[in-house]
């Protein structure tokens, strides 16, 4: 019998992490953002606990500004996995009508996502939340533990992380603390795509190229996904063949021009790609340690 392949090893490790976390937590939850990483994480959870249903609900911290195709996949996946789906929208943000156009991306992200997540975790008393972050995504992530602790104020202290040795995870928490667990820590973007292909995991069609209405704004191709998009003088949405490498709020997510309309074509494009996936995310492009700062404040 041949050795386990790298994908088999990654899968086995992620399942191990999911089981260990569930066994140690009182009220676990899985943060489900509908992106490709979330899709893989959910798939792994279904594998980890089979034939049981994953013994935790899915939590979507909604901003009301996701792509319509994302909402469709979200509802379908919750039905298929049989898990409860909790959709949280920060009531304050709803009341104020926070949106990226009038309030800017930083405030929009902070109020809907960072504050919204804290509210949802507090409101339901979740003590452990699975997230789909990967260490290869961003520099400060490279040093984050698989089991990452947050204070009662949901803050991350990178200086005070627990050492993680072998495959022994210390999940004991102090009063008020909660744990973020990242089962995909050791996966890369390429691993994710290879696994989606190998396992035939459903993903939002926006990852595949198609003709979509876009405008060019500040050098970024932005899709006009609904009528709330305020067009500027002279802007007319034009149909272009585009796809997305990451998915978030549609006004904040840049598309790339592409003909890759199958998974193998995406993987091929990835192998020749010269920019990292986060470049399409407008929130990363400020000061050097920006992600670390956001995480210290409680961003997932």
């Amino acid at each position: 019998m041949t050795a386990l392949t790298h994908l088999q090893r990654l899968e086995a490790e992620s399942i191990d992490i999911l089981r260990e976390a569930v066994a140690e937590a009182e009220r676990p939850v899985m943060l489900y953002s509908i992106g490709k990483d979330s899709s893989v994480m959910l798939h792994l959870a279904r594998k980890a606990f089979f034939p049981s249903r994953p013994p935790f609900p899915l939590l979507h911290v909604d901003t009301t500004w996701k792509f319509r195709a994302m909402y469709e996949l979200r509802d379908r996946m919750a039905r298929e996995s049989g898990q409860d789906l909790i959709v949280h929208r920060n009531p304050e943000a709803v009341r104020l009508g926070i949106n990226p156009f009038t309030h800017g991306s930083a405030l929009h992200t902070d109020v809907w996502k960072t504050q919204g997540l804290k509210q949802a975790l507090d409101q339901h008393g979740f003590d452990l939340a699975f997230g789909g972050a990967r260490r290869d995504e961003e520099k400060s992530r490279a040093k984050e533990r698989v089991f990452s602790f947050r204070s009662a104020q949901h803050q991350w202290d990178p200086k005070n992380q627990r050492p993680e040795l072998w495959r022994l995870y210390n999940a004991r928490k102090n009063k008020g603390e909660s744990i973020r667990v990242f089962p995909l820590s050791n996966w890369t973007e390429l691993d994710i795509w290879q696994y989606i292909l190998a396992e035939d995991i459903p993903i939002v069609p926006l990852y595949l190229a198609a003709e979509r209405p876009v405008v060019t704004r500040d050098g970024t191709l932005v899709m006009v996904d609904d009528e709330r998009f305020p067009l500027r003088e002279g802007e007319t949405p034009a149909l272009r063949r585009v796809r997305f490498r990451t998915l978030g709020c549609y006004p904040l997510t840049g598309a790339i021009e592409s003909d890759a309309d199958t998974l193998p074509a995406i993987i091929r494009e990835m192998l020749v790609a010269r920019t990292s996936e986060r470049q399409g995310r407008l929130i990363d492009q400020d000061a050097g340690a920006s992600m670390e700062k956001k995480k210290a404040e409680g961003y997932f």
Binding site: A12, P51, A142, R172, P264
Partner: protein, 634 residues
């Protein structure tokens, strides 16, 4: 772009990808050996860096760089803002890259003096170590230390990367001298698989392809070696070991045991023995989401069902029936300490081993290891980054294998009971024989019989508080009152114990822990004898009070906080001790240069500023009546 040009057929490429293997390795080196540069280069040359990351790196190199106009690859890796400012890497970071043949996960750990713990952490999951040496400096103390730590965690394959060869004019002699020295040293550590490679990480020589500047070197480039080295998949073989992480019960008809196989392989029909119960059965099915398997092996996460209904819970280990793991509660172990507060022999900790978390304590180290000279030193405790060998006692027996035969079955982490931090890591050597040979003597006159005779329940009244807070005064009055009520009592006082039972102990943290352990044991015996034991000790640490509490049964321990503020006791100073301590004549004095940890939830909290000693004593006696320990009149 080259990567793309090579792919004529994506399907063929993807098929090849499916059989790619994984190599996890660690890089170790001293501060200026060029470790970050090496990793940055590997990422760069394997096309793991994207244009925007390179652009950011160019910007950073101009701003913070130390390489003039060149790219400073070190900046790529210094992920945390604080590290950039200090210019050192201070934690373990994981990096990823892949070639046509393998995917790599690199643990990047700092070479800085005080970070033994980071290296052990990074090495614990590695299959191979790359040890960097600066060609100009040769083997340093750090090189020896890193190699020792690598050998300690059981890595047997080492790449000796002799870096900065450009700075010694590509000297073959320099390279070979270092290689010779290193092989001799490594052999002492039991590392016999060493591949030495002459390198210039900064210039990229012998990194991914052989360099024209070292025509005398015939071996592989670093990347070629990493791509082809056989690490046997890094997995232990041997008999089946599957610690149960989670009992899988979707309905009443299905009962499966989920876990990762940490040794051997399993097929339906295999006979298994479950530890610690020792019950045997046979494997019925190997259940996965993708259908039942005909076989599963080391490294896979599966769910087993068994032919018989036996009681199995999380932490139990399913083993090959004819070659089960050991079962013991006392071990000799190597311990690596990772916290600022030192390891204290006798202090209660938690140990996580496999899927079990257990109460644990350590004996006094048999020796500590000087990681620079490898000398064995006498030690009473282990400090941060200290490594030593000590006996480990658990509160129940667990299944284990020695670390040398199975890394995952013989490793553990140590958790502080109060901060919940991971404070240490350990490797099991073997079980101590004596753990199987001590049996409790069954006696006929037991505690219940004594309670019936005395007419009251036994307990420990544990008075804790600062020196001079009034513990002894209150304790004396309590004993007098209880005696008057006909109760059988005994008073253990700080000074009388210090003159006898604990005559050999001083006032260091370690000695204080041992002192309280002895008092706790004596109190336990006295409780067993049916007495109401009154103790009056400063007992400044929560952990030790918890230890004493754990020695008697639930409800038998009454923690009483004699709360007098520091400024008051210091002013009273009945024995003149505070004055001495303030003058520095008395070391480790509680409240002055040694902490007093206030009880979090004492059974009784006596505020001596608000009541007289007599009133405090009466409060204690009333509490005993309320608790049903004694009746108002016996």
């Amino acid at each position: 772009m080259n990567a793309g040009a090579r792919i004529e057929d994506v399907e063929t490429y993807l098929a090849a990808q499916q059989s790619k293997s994984l190599l996890r390795f660690i890089t170790c080196g001293s501060v200026d050996d060029g470790k970050s540069t090496l990793i940055g280069r590997l990422l760069h040359e394997s096309k793991a860096l994207f244009d925007d990351q390179l652009a950011a790196l160019e910007g950073d190199s101009r701003k913070f760089g130390t390489q003039g106009d060149e790219l400073d690859f070190a900046l790529l890796l210094d992920g945390l803002g604080a590290e950039r400012e200090q210019g050192i890497t201070i934690d373990v970071a994981y990096r990823f890259f892949a070639t046509e043949r393998r995917k790599f996960i690199v643990a990047d750990t700092p070479g800085h003096e005080q970070y033994t713990r980071n290296m052990i952490t990074g090495a614990s999951t590695a299959d191979l170590a790359v040890i960097l040496v600066d060609a100009r400096k040769g083997l340093l103390t750090q090189t020896r230390r890193h190699s020792y730590l690598v050998s300690l965690v059981g890595i047997r394959k080492v790449v000796l990367a002799v870096n900065k060869l450009d700075l010694v004019d590509w000297s073959r002699d320099a390279f070979e001298a270092i290689e010779r020295d290193y092989r001799a040293f490594a052999a002492q550590l039991g590392i016999d698989d060493v591949v030495a490679i002459p390198l210039s990480a900064l210039r990229g020589d012998n990194l991914s392809a052989p360099s024209a500047r070292t025509p005398w070197y015939r071996g592989p480039s670093l990347l070629q070696h990493l791509e082809t080295v056989d690490v046997g998949n890094g997995e232990p073989t041997g008999p089946l070991r599957l610690p149960v992480q989670w009992v899988n019960r979707p309905d009443l008809d299905f009962r499966g045991y989920s876990g990762r196989i940490l040794g051997g392989r399993v097929r339906p029909g295999d006979a298994v023995r479950v530890l610690p119960s020792g019950r045997t059965s046979a494997v019925a099915r190997i259940v996965t989401f993708d259908g039942d398997l005909a076989e599963a092996r080391t490294g896979q996460s599966v769910t087993l069902t068994l032919a018989d209904e036996i009681d199995i819970s999380r932490g139990d280990v399913i083993c090959a029936a004819d070659d089960p793991a050991g079962l013991a509660d006392q071990f000799e172990a190597t311990l690596v300490w990772m916290a600022d507060a030192p390891m204290l022999p006798g202090r209660p900790y938690l140990v996580k081993l496999g899927a079990s978390t257990l109460g644990a304590s350590f004996g006094q180290p048999k020796y500590a290891v000087d990681v620079n000279s490898l000398d064995h030193l006498a030690a009473k405790t282990l400090e941060l980054n200290g490594i030593g060998v000590a006996n480990l006692t658990l509160d129940r027996a667990v299944a284990f294998d020695p670390y040398a035969s199975n890394r995952d079955m013989g490793s553990f982490i140590v958790i502080d009971r109060y901060t919940n931090q991971t404070v240490g890591a350990g490797l099991l050597h073997f079980a101590l024989r004596r753990s199987q040979n001590i049996h409790w003597q069954a006696v006929e006159v037991d505690k219940q019989a004594r309670i019936r005779q005395s007419g009251h329940a036994p307990c420990v009244l544990w008075l804790t508080g600062l020196s001079g807070s009034g513990k002894s005064t209150i304790a004396n009055i309590v004993e007098r009152q209880l005696h008057a009520l006909g109760a059988r009592t005994y008073l253990l006082d700080g000074d009388n114990v210090r003159h006898g039972l604990s005559k050999d102990l001083g006032f260091t943290d370690a000695d204080r822990v041992e002192n309280i352990r002895r008092i706790g044991e004596v109190a336990r015996l006295m409780v067993d004898a049916g007495l109401i034991v009154i103790t009056a000790f400063i007992s400044p640490f929560r952990s030790e009070r918890q230890l004493a509490r754990g020695m008697v049964e639930d409800g038998e321990f009454v923690e009483i906080f004699v709360d007098t503020p520091l400024d008051v006791v210091e002013q009273r100073d009945p024995k003149g001790l505070y004055r001495k301590a303030r003058r520095g004549e008395l070391k480790n004095f509680t409240g002055i240069d040694s902490p007093y940890e206030v009880p979090a939830a004492p059974e009784l909290h006596l505020r001596t500023m608000e009541q007289s000693p007599e009133e405090s004593a009466s409060a204690i006696v009333e509490a005993l009546i309320r608790r049903g320990v004694i009746r108002p009149t016996i």
